[in-house]
Symmetry: C2
Subunit: 335 residues, 2 copies
């Protein structure tokens, strides 16, 4: 009888990261719950709809893991991790208004239940709470990193808005968008962990670089999944990006590799908004024909490799291994 080697079947997972940060993460979750409290009942209602709606809480875990990697012994990482998650949640709430999304994390989007107004305002409240927590931690360097991130995220989102429905968007343009709207918060989340640990500049930079490149990889995989993942896996509808006329890397590649007729199709669908289910299925056909989805994953793998190499200067250990496997996990989501 043949022995099945675990070699190929051992899927990368977040388990090591989850184990590493478990005690701290329990405190982060308690902090998140406590800090969405308000006498104004609608605030915890809306915030908890989204926050309890799951999501992996990857970003706060990164702050905790980078603090561990940096041998930080204080208490500030818990509040900073919660602040990072609040910044992310605020972005999601505001994004739903911008995208007019119906679903988020597998639930009805908050704006569908409470209206655009509530999504905008509760997002603002969470952003305010995030800054309050950072102030309580008291590190001006961390405040600088995270307030800069808030600006860069908004810039990235506005850039995406300007690029929306523009099929001429280049791969470089697109990278600038996702560096801002997604990767910057990953980078800041990681960097503040190292700053708290008072690591040398080069190590703070390494954590930042790890986060930035992981963030890019994460977003690219997300973009590919939007055309290929199941609804359950995504927590949103397959084809949302297509229907919203969002230009993502798979489309950038397929558009450039396509012939005149194909480009006309992309323009019609993405710029004109003529995108029903038949169009979506034709789009997936073109993406497959031009290997646009698999090459998007290839690109993600490239950034993932940079992220892992950024960690090289840290000594071997549990934190380093967990962060490294998190990269593989993010990319393996594509399969």
């Amino acid at each position: 009888m043949a022995v099945v080697l675990p070699f190929e079947t051992n899927e990368p997972s977040l388990d090591a990261l989850l184990r590493l940060v478990k005690p701290d993460m329990d405190r982060v979750n308690a902090t998140i719950l406590a800090r969405t409290g308000s006498d104004v009942a609608m605030i915890p209602e809306v915030a908890n709809h989204l926050i309890s709606g799951g999501g992996k809480r990857l970003r706060p875990m990164l702050t905790l893991a980078c603090a561990a990697l940096s041998d930080y012994r204080g208490e500030g990482h818990v509040k900073l991790a919660a602040a990072v998650e609040f910044m992310h949640t605020a972005t999601l709430l505001h994004d739903d208004v911008v995208d007019e999304s119906d679903m988020r994390r597998g639930k009805l989007a908050a704006r569908k239940l409470w209206g655009n107004e509530a999504s905008v305002l509760v997002g603002d409240f969470l952003l305010g709470q995030a800054f309050k927590m950072m102030v309580e931690v008291g590190s001006l360097t961390c405040l600088d990193i995270l307030s800069t991130a808030a600006c860069v995220i908004a810039e990235g989102e506005v850039m995406q808005l300007s690029a929306a429905k523009n099929t001429e968007t280049s791969e470089d343009d697109y990278l600038a968008v996702i560096r801002g709207k997604t990767a910057e918060l990953f980078a800041a989340a990681c960097e503040v962990g190292a700053v708290l640990g008072q690591r040398p500049k080069v190590e703070q930079g390494a954590c930042r670089s790890y986060g930035m490149n992981l963030g890019i990889a994460f977003q690219l995989v997300d973009d590919a999944l939007d055309y290929g993942g199941s609804q359950a896996k995504l927590g949103k509808n397959v084809g949302d990006d297509f229907r919203e006329g969002k230009i993502t890397l798979p489309v950038v590649l397929a558009f450039r590799r396509g012939d005149a007729e194909e480009r006309a199709f992309w323009k019609r669908c993405l710029e004109g908004g003529a995108s029903d289910d038949a169009a979506l299925s034709h789009a997936v056909g073109l993406l497959t024909k031009h290997r646009a989805l698999s090459d998007t994953i290839e690109r993600a793998r490239h950034y993932g490799a940079i992220a892992k190499d950024a960690l090289a200067l840290f000594p071997a250990g549990g934190a380093k291994d967990a962060l490294s496997e998190a990269v593989d996990f993010c990319i393996s989501r594509a399969h």
Copy 2:
């Protein structure tokens, strides 16, 4: 021939305040212009549409004047004043999305020109820039005051949302709303001026109280003007609050003082949204009958008096006089 005494004709104005802060305000305006800059062209476009659209820039002037009142000699007040104005501008942009406003500061609202998305995201960008400037100033106490204000403002706005279209709203409920959505930023703007000047706690508290009560008075006058001012004076349409079903103090008073038939009218208009020009003109009739507008101004006068008394413990001088006259000016707008 009788001599006309200037006594009664000397209308209170902002002139003394404007003169007091002029050199600093020029630097605040330059900072505002510089800090809306971004490679993403849509950001300065949207931001400057609103910022160059006028507005008195009362809030940053308050920060500068309270810094002057506190004999502050440093540089931080310029960036904090700009940060306060950015927080205010961000709120206006987000409010327009919430209220679905068509006009703002006498111009088309940004959301009508660039869409809700741009208003949400450029607001987020300005909020980020505001925090960056606060971090650059480096006072954790000021950061605490202003980040707390950001939360309280959002809470006030959400409270207003929950109270919207509810004619049962009490005067106390309503005061809680405007303390949050308007007066808190006035209070924070004033308090940080005194904090920078490293004044004793009691004087910091006095500046905060001045701002809080001025802010309440300011909002009450605004609410009255919405039913009585000219469009040019308001920079928005007369009757906007009525058409949006916003419950303000004039309505709270008239509803409670009215008979069953009148209450049914208010409910129909504000809760049901049946509010055309004829309804607006009937509403103004009821407000006049019940002295609801003049009593709203009376209430404003009360808070204005508290604001002026809060300044009593400061020595006489240009800054104190200018701040005191600013209160009279805000209330005289109602005439």
